[in-house]
């Protein structure tokens, strides 16, 4: 080939030969490649000057690029570029953008927030994001809860009270629900009587004679249910003791049980076994006061609080 001949005349070989006559051309690198390489070398030197680079003894060179931020103490500080300083700058910027809204949130009463259409929109979007990150794993995305585990936040029933202040308190300090296991102090008949009474309270099918006996037990010192659930069985929100008369069920899966006997068995299970699992974590340390206030209003709106 003529081209090959031309190359063999103009391009030198590397000079060594294998198997007697196998040689290798020594083509020069393309010019664009060589200059790109030099450019990357120059870039790296510029980079060293601007950003943190060389370690020196126990410290390092911070570089010329600086970041200015305001810290949580309110001091303005300048630090050589790093991602931690950059984060604070980012947070400053976002906080400045959200400040008008959060200032309004902390300055307004709950009722004012709920009535202000603009704040309502803010609560809906900010609250939904906060709820999804922090509350939905237990209370579910829509706040509907899980029977047997976590309360429904969209109904009218509030274990610890549904006013703004009560919801706020629940968010701040968390909750720990507890009911003793009555299987240890009452016999099977007594628990069955109580279960029939509780079924009667919310209008489920029951045995009238057993329910009457359960009524007496409920208000007796033997079982002493009334201490927590109240004389009228409507619960005590200072203890988180549920209202037993509203046919809203959290712990006993009465709606999911089939037949009157199944429903009463579900109630029996809770009375006998007790409960020590209604734990809500405290959020005071994890979320800011404004975020908790946003969530308070959001949760209040979910169920039409009290």
């Amino acid at each position: 080939m003529s081209e090959q001949k031309l190359q063999s005349q103009t391009v030198q070989t590397t000079g060594h030969a294998w198997d007697g006559d196998l040689q290798e051309y020594n083509n020069p690198l393309p010019v664009w490649w060589v200059y790109t390489f030099y450019a990357t070398v120059i870039f790296s030197i510029v980079y060293w000057v601007i950003y943190p680079s060389w370690p020196i003894g126990k410290d390092w060179i911070g570089g010329m690029s600086k970041i200015t931020y305001v810290n949580s103490e309110g001091e303005t500080k300048t630090h050589s570029w790093n991602t931690r300083a950059l984060l604070l700058q980012d947070l400053n910027k976002a906080a400045a953008e959200q400040k008008p809204y959060f200032d309004k949130v902390s300055g307004m009463s709950y009722a004012q927030i709920a009535q202000d259409p603009e704040m309502n929109a803010f609560i809906l979007s900010a609250g939904r994001a906060l709820f999804a990150d922090n509350c939905a794993p237990c209370h579910q995305a829509g706040g509907q809860g899980v029977v047997g585990f976590f309360p429904n936040l969209t109904d009218d029933d509030w274990l610890y009270g549904g006013s703004y202040d009560e919801i706020h308190q629940t968010l701040m300090i968390g909750r720990r629900g507890y009911m003793p296991a009555f299987g240890e102090v009452l016999n099977g008949d007594q628990i069955d009587q109580l279960a029939n009474y509780v079924a009667k309270l919310s209008g489920s099918g029951h045995d009238a004679a057993k329910a009457a006996a359960g009524d007496a037990l409920f208000h007796s010192e033997t079982a002493a249910c009334f201490y927590c659930h109240g004389d009228d069985a409507k619960g005590r929100k200072d203890l988180g003791a549920p209202n037993l008369t509203d046919n809203i069920w959290l712990w006993a899966d009465v709606p999911g049980a089939s037949g009157d006997e199944g429903k009463i068995a579900a109630i029996r299970g809770v009375i006998a076994g007790g409960l020590n699992k209604g734990v809500m974590p405290a959020w005071a340390g994890r979320l800011s006061p404004e975020q908790i206030k946003v969530l308070t209003v959001y949760v209040h709106e979910l169920g039409g609080g009290q």
Binding site: T14, D59, P137, R286
Partner: protein, 248 residues
């Protein structure tokens, strides 16, 4: 000296070529990693970080055994979105007693660096047994056997001894225990004493009752104890939000 000769010499000596190749590719690592051992500020000086208690340590072993790290990272990066979702960025100090660390590199599930205290024990148990009963859109596998498998505590001390060999300050002697009391306070130091490992593990499991079942110590007890301590050792309310900026 002839350049061509030298090149040929390397190419025809496979042993030499392997050595030189290793030298060439280790330069990048040496330049980036070695200085960190000499720089004072690599690991933040922060209060509260301690080695895991025997029960938490066993939970960590189960975390690794079940491969949790393949889907969950434990490294909150200093970005605004991560701060808002997970909390304060992870400090190097917080994984100083982790061998190996569980930073991870893939998030199919959420980051777990600060999952401690975020959910109740009961949620953790139910979520591990049947994730979709708690989070309908979850793709996490079920781990029901954790609840039914009794925790093997016979080798607790041996596991702590192994970690002690790689630098975790679990104590074997009275002198080491005294040093730990000085460093971590008496309550924590006693938890880190290897001769008492099994007793401490049983006590913590029975007191905490993490799996909600008092009849015995299950693997669930250990794993939930571990999850509930993640990211909770440092009290960030004690520090200004730029307290750790100077460390990078």
């Amino acid at each position: 000296m002839n350049l061509n000769f030298k090149h040929e010499w390397i190419e025809t000596n496979i042993g030499l070529m392997a050595v030189l190749t290793m030298l060439a590719i280790s330069v990048g690592g040496l330049v980036e990693i070695a200085p960190l051992f000499f720089i004072d500020k690599t690991v933040e000086k922060v209060e509260g970080v301690r080695p895991y208690t025997p029960l938490e340590q066993r939970g960590r072993d189960i975390y690794i055994r079940e491969g949790c790290y393949t889907c969950h990272s434990q490294m909150i990066r200093p970005f605004r979105d991560e701060k808002l979702r997970y909390g304060h960025y992870s400090l190097a100090a917080e994984s100083q007693y982790d061998h190996p660390f569980q930073w991870g590199s893939k998030r199919t599930g959420p980051d777990l660096a600060r999952v401690g205290g975020k959910y109740s024990n009961q949620w953790q148990v139910q979520h591990l047994v049947a994730p979709r009963s708690m989070v309908p859109e979850s793709v996490m596998p079920n781990y029901p056997w954790l609840l039914t498998t009794k925790l093997d505590i016979s080798d607790t001390a041996a596991r702590m001894k192994a970690l002690r060999k790689v630098g975790v300050p679990y104590s074997l002697t009275q002198a080491e225990l005294d040093a730990n009391i000085e460093k971590f306070g008496e309550t924590v130091a006693k938890q880190l004493h290897i001769p008492d490992a099994q007793k401490n593990l049983v006590e913590q499991a029975n007191f905490g009752n993490y799996d909600g079942d008092r009849s015995g110590i299950s693997e669930m007890d250990a794993l939930v104890a571990y999850l509930q301590v993640l990211g909770t050792m440092v009290d960030f309310s004690k520090y200004a939000d730029d307290a750790f900026v100077g460390n990078r």
